[in-house]
């Protein structure tokens, strides 16, 4: 990544209000050229609104949007070099598959022979060669998804926007399309900005993920960082699912859970925090194991009453209830005999894998 190109998309201190409601409250982020960025967040957090401001269907109340270094605020959608894959695909029902794909090229006044060539090329890329003459009503959902993708890609936009592109597909097709999307991104080298509320999809597809909550970006980072070093309690919970121990920083590097120090927490875990800070300890279930009470745990540990054991072969999920009522989950390997339901056991983990966030 040694190019000197300006970022493909720059979102600069954007806010967006609809009358009383504020949909976006101060978002800034850059998307590098050729990057696959996903905007991830729960329903209603403003993902689509952000995308619509890039494509020109909504204007920011304050702030600036730049595409390829040039501000596009006030520029009509059809004058922006973005192409979008709509959640409902929005394929034109009165046109064939080939005509749908050709639409953007016709608008760009590309000559006939060239259009035919590029449409064929695109049909091949999306694995629909021979389907060009079909009507939109004559193809399946997965095929419609690929046509929507092809129709947007064929104009070679400087940014491809995807609003929940796989949202309407069933699980299996979804997985398959994720792989195809990733492959197409790699092959074409275009900039992709996608929106989803499926964290697994975001983790699989993206170079970087912007996690949004209630109109703000809580963290913008690569998938590994998001998962291993979440910046906020929300990110920790939303991305990957985590055990969260709500605690308070005590004197001498201790972490107090309900007033008592948690065992096995090293003092460097709390080194940047002040006494009295309210924090949450993020512990991913896959690094947690259980053992009988009174034993010597190798790292940090906490007592919990086992409420549920969910066995699914290779992995079994052991759900415990902490003293403060919150749940704590361990993913243990299926070969190990599980603790009994109703018994109180020790949940312990490798202290280097847990992580503290502000609360």
């Amino acid at each position: 990544m040694t190019n000197t190109k300006p970022p493909a998309v720059e979102i600069d201190a954007i806010t967006k209000s609809y009358g009383e409601t504020t949909a976006i409250r101060g978002v800034s982020m850059d998307v590098r050229d050729g990057e696959f960025v996903t905007i991830l967040g729960p329903s209603g957090c403003g993902k689509s609104t952000l995308l619509r401001m890039i494509s020109g269907f909504a204007e920011p109340t304050t702030g600036d949007v730049r595409i390829g270094g040039k501000s596009v605020v006030g520029l009509a959608p059809y004058k922006r070099d973005t192409a979008m894959v709509f959640q409902d695909y929005a394929l034109f029902p009165h046109r064939t598959i080939a005509e749908n794909i050709a639409f953007g090229l016709r608008m760009r006044k590309v000559e006939r022979a060239e259009i035919a060539r590029r449409v064929d090329e695109m049909l091949a890329l999306i694995n629909l060669s021979g389907y060009g003459g079909r009507r939109v009503s004559e193809i399946s959902g997965g095929q419609a998804q690929r046509v929507a993708l092809g129709r947007a890609l064929v104009v070679r936009p400087s940014v491809l926007l995807l609003d929940e592109p796989l949202g309407a597909l069933d699980m299996k097709l979804r997985k398959q399309m994720q792989a195809e999307l990733k492959k197409i991104h790699r092959e074409l080298g275009l900039t992709f900005v996608a929106v989803t509320h499926d964290q697994e999809e975001a983790l699989t597809l993206s170079d970087r993920i912007a996690v949004m909550n209630a109109g703000s970006v809580e963290q913008f980072a690569d998938p590994e960082t998001l998962y291993r070093r979440p910046a906020t309690r929300f990110v920790a919970d939303f991305v990957g699912g985590a055990n969260l121990i709500d605690a308070e920083v005590g004197p001498a590097g201790a972490l107090l859970f309900r007033g008592l120090p948690l065992s096995g927490i090293g003092s460097d875990a709390v080194k940047d925090r002040a006494i009295g800070d309210k924090v949450s300890l993020v512990v991913r279930p896959e690094c947690v194991a259980t053992s009988a009470l009174g034993g010597q745990a190798p790292g940090p540990a906490i007592e919990a009453m086992v409420t549920e054991v969910l066995f699914s072969g290779a992995v079994q999920q052991i759900v415990g209830r902490l003293a403060d009522g919150s749940l704590f989950v361990a993913h243990e390997q299926g070969l190990k005999p599980p603790p009994e339901r109703g018994s109180t056991v020790l949940f312990h983990w490798d202290g280097s894998l847990s992580w503290l966030v502000a609360r």
């Binding site: 959608p77 059809y78 192409a83 709509f86 394929l91 009165h94 939109v136 947007a152």
Partner: protein, 275 residues
């Protein structure tokens, strides 16, 4: 469902329902059938029983310049009114369906006014208005009146169609580089064409047959309904029956074909695949 043996009670109910349906259709189509039948009656004053049949009245009707003249006038005026009312209704319906406007239900209620207003009232009102514009009496006034009446429900019908129109088609087209005008030409127009045609046909038949309001503002213009009405005062010539039967059959055929076409088009363009 139908294979199940019916109880006597059910059978009685079914018979009653059939009888009811037959009566309804008789009620609807008997006057039409009578007209068509009498068109073939050889007697100069048609009536039952029918002894000798003839097709001569059809020829006579076409020779009658007063009759054919008023038919052409009616056709011409109805086409103009239907075009005008469709053209007026479309943008209004687009605005009502797609743009956030204040007092929408009030606006809608007012649009509906000319439909719910008794036609006598409308006719009377127009007569008073036309006193200040006597030049308009006749064809312009008839067109004006019929456009008013038909455009009001044309707007409502198109409005309900446009409500179901997916905005993402428009956004998709714009996103791919189509300006507002191109979006209209390439996406909106083809997709709402069936609705436009059915609204046009409805407005046309309505304007073609409308008598009351036209009567008020016609002046010396004779539309077909006016000519027929006038001829009622004398003995009704079988020519009128002949012409009427032709109109009935053509109208039925057109409305049938156009309905079938619209249904087919709508099916072709509205079937949308999700997963």
């Amino acid at each position: 469902m139908s294979a199940r043996p019916r109880s006597p009670q059910e059978r009685g109910g079914f018979a009653l329902l059939s009888l009811y349906a037959v009566l309804i259709y008789l009620f609807l189509y008997l006057p039409i059938a009578v007209i068509v039948l009498f068109a073939f009656d050889a007697k100069p004053i048609p009536g039952l029983p029918l002894d000798t049949l003839t097709t001569g009245w059809f020829v006579e009707a076409l020779r009658d310049q007063k009759l054919t003249g008023s038919l052409l006038t009616s056709l011409r005026l109805a086409v103009v009114s239907a075009i005008l009312s469709t053209l007026l209704a479309m943008p209004a319906a687009m605005v009502l369906a797609w743009l956030p406007i204040r007092f929408k239900s009030l606006v809608m209620a007012m649009v509906l006014g000319p439909v719910v207003l008794p036609q006598l009232v409308l006719g009377l009102g127009l007569v008073i208005l036309l006193r200040s514009a006597p030049d308009l009496v006749g064809e312009p006034a008839i067109i004006l009146a019929h456009t008013t009446i038909t455009s009001s429900y044309a707007t409502l019908i198109l409005y309900s169609r446009f409500l179901g129109f997916r905005r993402s088609y428009i956004e998709a087209a714009m996103n791919l580089g189509a300006s507002e005008l191109v979006v209209f030409r390439e996406v909106i127009l083809p997709l709402v064409r069936p609705a436009l045609i059915s609204v046009f046909m409805l407005a046309f038949t309505d304007a073609f047959g409308e008598f009351v309001v036209a009567w008020f503002v016609a002046g010396f213009t004779e539309t077909l309904p006016i000519t027929i009405w006038t001829s009622l005062r004398q003995v009704i010539s079988p020519k009128v029956y002949a012409l009427s039967s032709v109109i009935i059959l053509v109208t039925l055929a057109i409305s049938l074909v156009s309905q079938l076409w619209v249904i087919r088009q709508t099916r072709l363009t509205s079937k949308v695949q999700t997963s």
